[in-house]
């Protein structure tokens, strides 16, 4: 974290009580932001925590009663929830290395492009998916993955002749390929954006360091390990932790590509939570909130662990 926000003491070392009192007036700039954080973030999150201790059913008329930890106990025993967590974790394991290592490799290459026009062009093309909204990405890939008329299978089947109409790969749906297929889409989508992160990091490395390494006679690979990687480490760590969190909580992809079908491998704990809260039975909001919180807590434990492992040792 930066320390720029520390107060600057200009002139007098000790400021009068009145001046310090006046400082609170600057909070006026934060009032609109505060409104949104309180009403649309803090309140609903706390409300959902409160609900998770009640057997609250949204569409039922009977008043909700306090059930203590029953919702949580049920969730831990719920095979659908546990399978859902496992599926989300499987997705994360496939997604995380791809979205960190491929952009890192690509950034190192793009950083060396000497022609400034080409360098800009490459960046623009790679960033294109970043300006296509999430839902659009999944609609597009649902087409591309289509069994019959999707271009991927068309190429594999009709142009390359690797498969026929009966054994062509089923990319989405009930197929075991569907989680890897969604992970690939997410990597494709994040490719340019994450490459930009690493390019910004590479640009901030003083060029003299590379020169010095070359003078010392180290080859490309050694330079990468001794200069580039240590310098990019802070960016990489924050990306790993952030992307772990987003990957475990992915839901839009699975809902668009797999729908609300329990037979689908894409039916993760997030989809299950949404399905319970807005579609199943009499909308058991209490139970859904407990599932949401359990999933979030499980993620937080891992995030805290990662932050601890990656902590600054200097």
């Amino acid at each position: 974290m930066s320390t720029v926000t520390a107060p600057r003491t200009v002139g007098k070392p000790k400021r009068s009580l009145r001046a310090r009192y006046r400082d609170w007036g600057n909070w006026i700039y934060l009032l609109p932001v505060l409104f949104f954080f309180v009403v649309y973030m803090a309140y609903p999150i706390l409300k959902s925590m409160w609900m998770s201790f009640y057997d609250y059913q949204y569409l039922s008329n009977s008043p909700a009663s306090f059930v203590g930890l029953k919702n949580f106990v049920n969730a831990i025993k719920d095979p659908i929830f546990l399978t859902g967590i496992r599926r989300a974790f499987y997705f994360t394991i496939l997604f995380l290395p791809g979205v960190i290592l491929i952009p890192l490799f690509l950034a190192i290459l793009v950083d060396r492009v000497k022609n400034p026009r080409l360098a800009t062009l490459y960046r623009l093309i790679l960033l294109l998916p970043a300006v296509i909204p999430a839902a659009m990405i999944f609609v597009l890939w649902r087409w591309l993955y289509d069994f019959e008329i999707g271009p991927i299978n068309v190429i594999l089947r009709d142009y390359l002749g690797l498969f026929n109409r009966f054994n062509a790969p089923q990319w989405v749906g009930t197929s075991p390929l569907s989680i890897p297929a969604v992970a690939f889409v997410e990597i494709w989508w994040g490719l340019g954006y994450h490459t930009m992160f690493f390019l910004a990091g590479l640009a901030s490395i003083p060029r003299e360091l590379f020169e010095a390494a070359r003078v010392d006679g180290s080859n490309e690979w050694q330079t990468f390990w001794s200069v580039t990687l240590p310098r990019l480490q802070p960016i990489m760590m924050i990306l790993v932790v952030l992307r772990f969190g987003t990957a475990m909580a992915v839901i839009d992809d699975f809902m668009i590509m797999g729908g609300l079908n329990r037979a689908m491998p894409t039916y993760t704990w997030t989809v299950y939570m949404w399905h319970l809260a807005f579609s199943l039975g009499s909308w058991p909001h209490g139970y859904a909130a407990a599932i949401g919180w359990l999933g979030a807590l499980a993620m937080l434990v891992v995030v805290a662990g990662l932050l601890y492992v990656f902590r600054n040792r200097d």
């Binding site: 909204p133 640009a203 949401g292």
Partner: protein, 298 residues
Amino acid sequence: MTSAESSLAAGAAVKRAPAVHRKRFPWRTVGMHAIIIFFCLIVLIPIAWVLLLSFKSLRDAYTGNLWPEQFDFTHYAYVFQKMPTVLRNFSNSIIVTLSTVVVTTVISILAGYALVHTRLPGAAIVGAALLATLFFPTRLVSIIGIFQFQFRLGLINTLPGLILPYITLNLALSILIMRGIFQQISPELVDAAKIDGASSWRTLREILLPLAANGIVVVGMINFVTAWGEYLLARTYTNDKLMQTFPVALTSTFSSYGEWAMPRVAAMYVMAIAPGILAFAILQRWYMKGLQEGALKF
């Protein structure tokens, strides 16, 4: 020094290199470009495919041919003339997106400015809290609570009922980006303006805002992309076909025939991604600079 500048400098150095180096065939450079172009193609081909699909005749769209035997350029007009609900979805999306982008950008500029360039008690705590929200699945855990009180307030199936949660979606990230941008601006500049008697509001408007333009473009683009294509909340908080935003309407129509035949949906699709790509093409210079300046450093 940006990497473009440094590569310029490197290019100048290469020209002065002895002739021996110039004669050797540059395998490394060619290989490097080949790999980059390979990734560029992976990015471009799916987008090109959907563009081509929107010009295919109905028959070609449902056979396996990649290149159509017959082109059909009427799908775009068809969508506008024959599908009024789609236009309604489109205008919903435009209203929701514009409101979200404007409000989020303005309030995150105010917050970023206050966090960096004013004396703000508790600024460090605010910054830490903002960062913490990035590590928590706030959207998922808050979705039920927001639904409940929005229902009680009659905000379900209304556009404000989408705009308000959308503003919150990227607010923390937007403020952190604006804070990063303002941190690049020297505090002396602000102090000088204060000594000249400018109020903090005037300092922000006349001195800092022009300097933060690139960052503002980044924040605007990020919020544009989020609001324009948001799916989960739109599906949760609207169920009336006329109040739906465009992405929800589009996702509910997979590989059907007739009105919603694939090339027509593809035409809609192209119209849906075109605004983002156009905005990006126009603003890319500022966007890239904004990313370099500190939007990616928080």
